[in-house]
Symmetry: C3
Subunit: 671 residues, 3 copies
């Protein structure tokens, strides 16, 4: 329940540092992250190290009662290193080298770069091993940013072949697993398998999926190198990495296994423009979308099942989205509370002060270029004060799990089968319906233990093994309520179609199979109606499956007089003490609510009335955070609670925190 | 009048094959195409051949009373071959190599690949030379798919120089023919002429046109290598190649000269999305556009003037268009009848069974992944039964020729002079008007013998020689009716402007010349009116020519008060016993009908009332096929005919076949 | 006050030349530009020169009483030269070579190409040093066309490093000036600095700005090589270069310093399609936008403060815009008058005759392909006659300066901070408001002497030095009226943010500072209202700054109820005898007029009522040109003047020239 900041002392004159640090402390800041991207400052020439500046900065932070979080500076190898060992650079599929001049230009599999990494991390870890002011470390920065997870260089080719040999044992096994009889793609040796380069037509989906896995594994491996070196020097340090929002190419679950703490970088008004489908609303441009941000909070919280940090919190306007509107009044405070309600224990704003040089000049900080307080500073100080008042709060205890799997994401990204099919958006269709009912949601890998959840929602379990099917069946039989979305149970673990009809090993649990699927452009009418009810129709989009119900009861059928008319679109199957619902379409919001609400009722999960867009509530440890991402004003009909922050009337972009759980039956009125 | 299927036994367990083949025979299938893309299965390592599986598959097919069509497997050289002889790979203009991992990665001019081709084709031809079950061969697969006709490698550079030296004799002649004084582009030797690579500005149009011709000729040459080897082994085999729809870079007329049979691959709902201008209608998404498909049927039928085959017929939903809606109920049967009405003698569905591996997993087959019948199976079986009932039918006898020339296409593609100028679409504007009047159309090269046609339509004879002008004049003088579209008679055979005003050598025949041309964006009003009639206006699009009538009478003048107002847009000139109409604009549908209907009347060609979109009729050999590509229901006012398939009420996506010619004066009512 | 033409005798048979030249003279043409792109004709093989044809052409021109303007033919090195010295070719950032086959394929920094340039220019200059018919020279052609200012080859890398070493002296100074502590971008030696190649993320803005400056300087240097060689041979020749419209990468001020005469190539209906934001209107498609063309006239006139030439004037339809409509009737004459009103002394049409070969076949000339007169010929002849009647006219004396700086353009192009932020468009928002009031405008560099101007408008002085701030302050104190637009005073000369709040060193002059800035997409309402007036609101777009007024008075505040509501958007500050207005938004047309009109009144600048779009007036030397770029008809309420061309009723695309200044208080009525 605390606030921090990211600081780059090396960008500022040394005589200013003390005042900066005093002002941080005055704002209630507890953590100061430093040394990110500082390699060329720490080692201006090979072997010539300058740690003095960082020693002083850490000491200043400590002297003012704060803790330092340091970063391994590997995201930006200096030019002298690149010129000396150019083989560390990444390559595009067509061989174009990604040169020095921005950041993240190194290859995760470069043998040379691993040597250099070991050298600089060891040096830093040794230097601060006994420093009492260093609380922990961030490895590198935003692994994979700027599409850098996947590299196509010779080191990667070698590593990919070794990874395949390790996984498959023999080339015959690989040929069989991928299905290389197709288009004469069989190999006679692992040496023949290249990274996927430029080809006349699209690549083999099994090869692409394994390249996606291999690339992600390469980052996991590279991160572990940092973690091991740091832990060896000081086992009391926490080690974290700052992930990104809606990040598609790196398996955060796998990286997190080597971490003590998961953190991520949250930029609500940036993400709403470049990572959300469609045109953002004016309110979203001012504060972001609470469900987009919330799903990332929940993903990173669930990765280790522990409180997470926001390592970089948007401090005002930023430089990288298409447009850069000013956040709504108070939005920077709103985001800190929203993160806390979702389970964050610390929120660090990025950055202390607007940078005067380099690529991020148009990125605000808590302080202006001249050092005066900017809009975010007041928000941050207020949030720090309010969170200090609230004190420690227990971890989030979510009653519902949403299943999220990078393998599914990669497989569907490679074969979306419609330009508008986006795995994240499909997840949000279900996630948003749960959050609009005030429910906390863990976003977990399908291999997670589901026993503790009252309900499980799996929007697109594309690759399903028999083992997973067994586990889900056991979950339902034991009384669990399961909701499955479209494109479930289509493929095996190698991204090959199953011969059995979809949903493959889940067919018995679902009590139905898929006869046909289709993807549909907007000019085709897409509506379903409740089975047996000719009038009540709901919109869906993009994807339609025609189901043949076996044991299951039809829930939805296709409306209209088109080719699917009257076919079944969704079913429910009671199995043991629970039930499974299979929905073969991508639901629009009304339909998603009409799937989720009965699910929550059957599962006995407390929930609110359907909340307005932008207004969201989070229960955590007996407290409830009400966060308003909209410019509307709302009255919260929460009965007799006391408000630690705000009150039952929530203004535009405002927050209220109640000392009780208030979600059950909650209603909200727009004023 | 028969049905077939494409089969890939190598994708399935051998124990399944017999049942597959039994089920094919049960559906009335007569032809089974196999061995496409099978090189790595046939020759897993250099010199290690495995023909046993194919022997067995061919034998099974024969044993069940069907005929096998085999393919040379050259579209997919295996990885061992690519690694051994990497010089076979294609190159992009900027030198990027098109690597292994999909298909069609070889260069048609590669000396190495021609050796390898000779080796594998000879091996296969020898193996099956005496096999009674092999009816014929398909060479390779879809030459040029994935933009592979044009390669820019060193072998191609050498071959291009040799091709030029052969064509021009001396570099001075080339300089003169192209007009290389412009921008100092003259060469001093053929060795200086490269394939057109990356340049600051656009390329010389004469160089581009010759590169287009050379590239197409390279494929013709490469195909002939297959044909010669196959014919040498067994002269009784037919040899065909499967062309594609609306395919822009390969001269199908030239390739066909070496074939016994022309075939093509028809995917109506795919093509309507990615090869037709504008947004498809819901009906087009369900069944395709009958005129788009029909023009390809007519082109490939006309290439040899003989019945053609559909070598791959869309079997259901496919994997490659932007969206993949399910075809309308019965559409797969509709397409088979439509092809037959246009002159097909066999329609082979692609493929027998949905493939579980590789790039085409989302492509339906006649059977599902588990082997059960899919939607297309029932359609195919019904079509097979109906076509068997109808029996043999004479070849199409078309009264009208539409002139289509790849040289014109290439020249206009290089200099469209408007982003929305597309040669195919301009052709379809005229073709569609003819088909909406129920007229059969041969799509022939301008060098074809025109004597047998009552009318000739040439939508854009861009390059016109004096010889062609003489032939067209003789055609009209002898009583022919000729309709010419815009951009006619602009250039010589080297893609140079003629000094004489457009339409150059056709000016006397047309009785008018072009004073100005212009291309127009949608925000400029584009209407013409009938000469002498101020009220009756018609829309046109994209292109306008201002004509100076000489001997000719004005037919259309520009409406509105813009700069062209009152200028002549179209003329008619009576010459000898016929007449020539020149239309200087790209007509919208109403204007196209108003040009075509009088033409048909003057030419004495039987025709129907103007048919609704989606409903089309084809007369062939005394029968009439009525095909409904729409979701509407129609009554055919055909008088006293008997219906072999269906009846006078044609349901959505349905077919009717009458035992008589019914087009003359036919009217149709929507129910 | 005269007319000329561009002629390519080498494209035509020699026997035609005499007639061509006679027809030129008959049309009143005085200047004939020749020899552009003629290298391969002048030197077909290395060392084999053929000047005879050019001798004869020059002599013919002279014999008919005209003057020749010759071109150095370096824009098109012949293929034999490229093959012999391939190192002259340009490279893309990723190393792709820009090959022979169009034009402009050489690198400005190529040592080899400078040698070759010296060789051919010397040869030509020697040949014509004493020719009485050669009036002057054009260097090369359209430096930088087809994005060729910036090259990334090894010669450029070397030259860039030398340029940096010269500018900064030490690498430490460069690191400091750019701010290379950011993202570890510091260098240890100039040898480490590369041209900006492909990188994972965006480049350092300071590096990009210096690469833009270096690239432009390279062209300046290369041009000077031509100029020096020509001047050395014959100091009486004028030397010019033909710049392009709205050209972004070359500093025309800097190139002009080495020239005697500035000229440019004006293509109104082409530019309106590919260099103007939004969709052009039908009128713009017929005649272009007079303010777009006018701003270029004014820029090139102001570069040397002397009459300029239009070296290439659009003669009819052209080949390169998206669409190619025919210009309105008389538009080619209109453009010549419009240029003259803006200060041109000669207007040369491009080209004499439509070219039958090569890339520009679809480009009209004054004569058709067959030699007959085309539309432009009649317009040119009429313009020549009218301009001859008018005779010599004094130079334009503009009361208002618009400040334009390539450094600002480059800095903003690199960091537009909104997809719709375009420096040129912002300039035109202010320029158009001035021109709609009939005011002549000099478009000058901020370093120009401002003393003679009654008012100065600076739409986006992004990089501001203390010296410039002092000069502007002195200007205002001395009674000048200054209008500043948004994004002013943001950065230092190295493209680094200033620590002081925007507008940095201009804050005192403006009497206000910028608290926040934001860029806004269209879905956010963007209106301001006059301070103190709740009803009168004006639209703005894209950019908003929230001002804190200090000494200044608020002029505009933000309307609506959003986050900026009530904040100040523009201020006025009285300083000494003048005043400064700072406008923090990008004004739409009504707001721009409401900023400009009071400015003109305070400055005592004569101006008209607000003129309709398309109708523009220019006073020059006591004459007034009225030019109508629209299809409307207008009556000019000009009182008692006599008209040398036309009269007070101006038809569509027509011109009138009065023998007096008529702008003050002028009103215009649409008929
Ligand atoms: Zn790599
Ligand atoms: Zn090649
Ligand atoms: Zn260069």
């Amino acid at each position: 329940m605390t606030i921090g900041v990211c600081y780059f002392p090396e960008h500022w004159p040394r005589e200013r540092w003390e005042r900066d640090v005093e002002e941080m402390a005055a704002a209630g800041i507890e953590y100061v992250r430093m040394a990110e991207f500082s390699w060329a400052v720490l080692e201006p020439e090979r072997g010539e190290f300058d740690f003095e500046w960082l020693d002083e900065a850490v000491e200043l932070v400590g002297d003012h009662g704060m803790q330092a979080v340091l970063c391994t500076p590997t995201a930006t190898p200096p030019k002298w290193l690149v010129d000396e060992r150019p083989e560390i650079l990444q390559e595009e599929p067509d061989g174009t080298v990604r040169e020095h001049g921005s950041r993240r230009h190194y290859c995760f599999n470069s043998r040379s770069y691993r040597e250099e990494t070991e050298r600089i991390v060891t040096k830093l870890a040794d230097r601060y091993a006994d420093d009492p002011h260093v609380a922990g470390w961030q490895t590198d920065n935003e692994f994979g940013c700027h599409r850098t997870v996947r590299c196509y260089c010779d080191d990667c080719a070698d590593a990919f072949r070794a990874w395949l040999a390790e996984k498959y044992g023999s080339i015959e096994a690989l040929n069989e697993a991928w299905g290389n009889a197709f288009w004469s793609q069989r190999y006679t040796a692992f040496e023949e398998v290249d990274p996927p380069g430029p080809t006349p037509a699209e690549h083999h989906p099994s090869r692409l999926l394994d390249y996606a896995r291999f690339s992600s594994d390469s980052v996991v491996d590279y991160n572990r190198l940092h973690v091991d070196l740091l832990r060896e020097r000081n086992p009391d340090w926490f080690v974290t990495h700052n992930f990104m929002g809606r990040f598609p190419t790196l398996d955060a679950y796998a990286v997190s296994e080597d971490l003590d703490l998961v953190s991520w970088d949250s930029y609500p008004t940036g993400f709403v423009q470049d990572r959300l489908e469609g045109e953002p609303t004016p309110d979203q441009l001012r504060a972001g979308d609470p469900d987009q941000v919330g799903m990332d909070h929940d993903l990173y919280r669930s990765a280790l099942g522990r409180p997470f940090w926001v390592m970089e919190q948007q401090p005002g306007d930023v430089n990288w989205p298409p447009h850069c509107p000013q956040p709504g009044e108070g939005a920077m405070r709103l985001w800190a509370h929203h993160a806390t309600g979702h389970g964050a224990d610390a929120v660090l704003y990025f950055r202390w002060r607007r940078c005067l040089e380099g690529q991020e000049q148009y990125h605000a900080g808590l302080r202006n270029g001249d050092g005066s307080p900017d809009r975010g500073y007041h928000d941050a100080a207020q949030a720090a004060e309010e969170l200090a008042t609230i004190g420690d709060v227990d971890h989030v205890d979510a009653p519902v799990a949403l299943l999220f799997d990078y393998d599914d994401l990669w497989a569907l990204d490679e074969q979306p089968h419609a330009p508008d099919f986006d795995y994240w958006s499909l997840l949000e269709a279900f996630y948003g319906a749960l959050r609009a009912r005030g429910v906390q949601v863990d976003v977990v890998h399908p291999s997670a233990d589901l026993a503790g959840y009252d309900a499980v929602v799996a929007p697109a379990l594309h690759l399903v093994t028999a083992d997973l099917a067994d586990r889900l069946t056991a979950y339902v039989e034991a009384g669990g309520e399961l909701l499955l979305g479209p494109r479930t149970g289509v493929k095996d673990a190698y991204n090959k179609l199953r011969p059995a009809p979809q949903p493959g090993p889940l067919a018995d649990l679902v009590g139905a199979t898929v006869d046909q699927h289709e993807s549909l452009p907007p000019q085709i009418e897409t509506r379903v109606r409740r089975a047996g009810d000719p009038d009540d129709t709901y919109a869906f989009r993009t994807w339609a499956e025609w189901l043949d119900a076996d044991a299951a009861s039809p829930l939805l059928t296709y409306a209209g007089d088109g080719v699917a008319s009257g076919r079944t679109a969704a079913v429910r199957n009671a199995v043991g003490d629970g039930s499974a619902v299979y929905c073969g379409v991508w639901p629009a919001a009304d339909l998603a609510d009409d799937l989720v609400r009965p699910l929550l009722e059957r599962a006995g999960v407390s929930h609110s009335d359907r909340l307005p867009d932008g207004l969201r509530v989070c229960e955590r440890g007996g407290w409830t955070w009400v966060t308003n991402f909209s410019s509307g004003r709302y009255r919260i009909a929460a009965g007799d609670v006391s408000w630690l922050v705000g009150d039952a009337t929530v203004e535009a972009f405002d927050v209220a925190v109640a000392d009780d759980g208030i979600v059950d039956g909650l209603s909200v009125d727009r004023l």
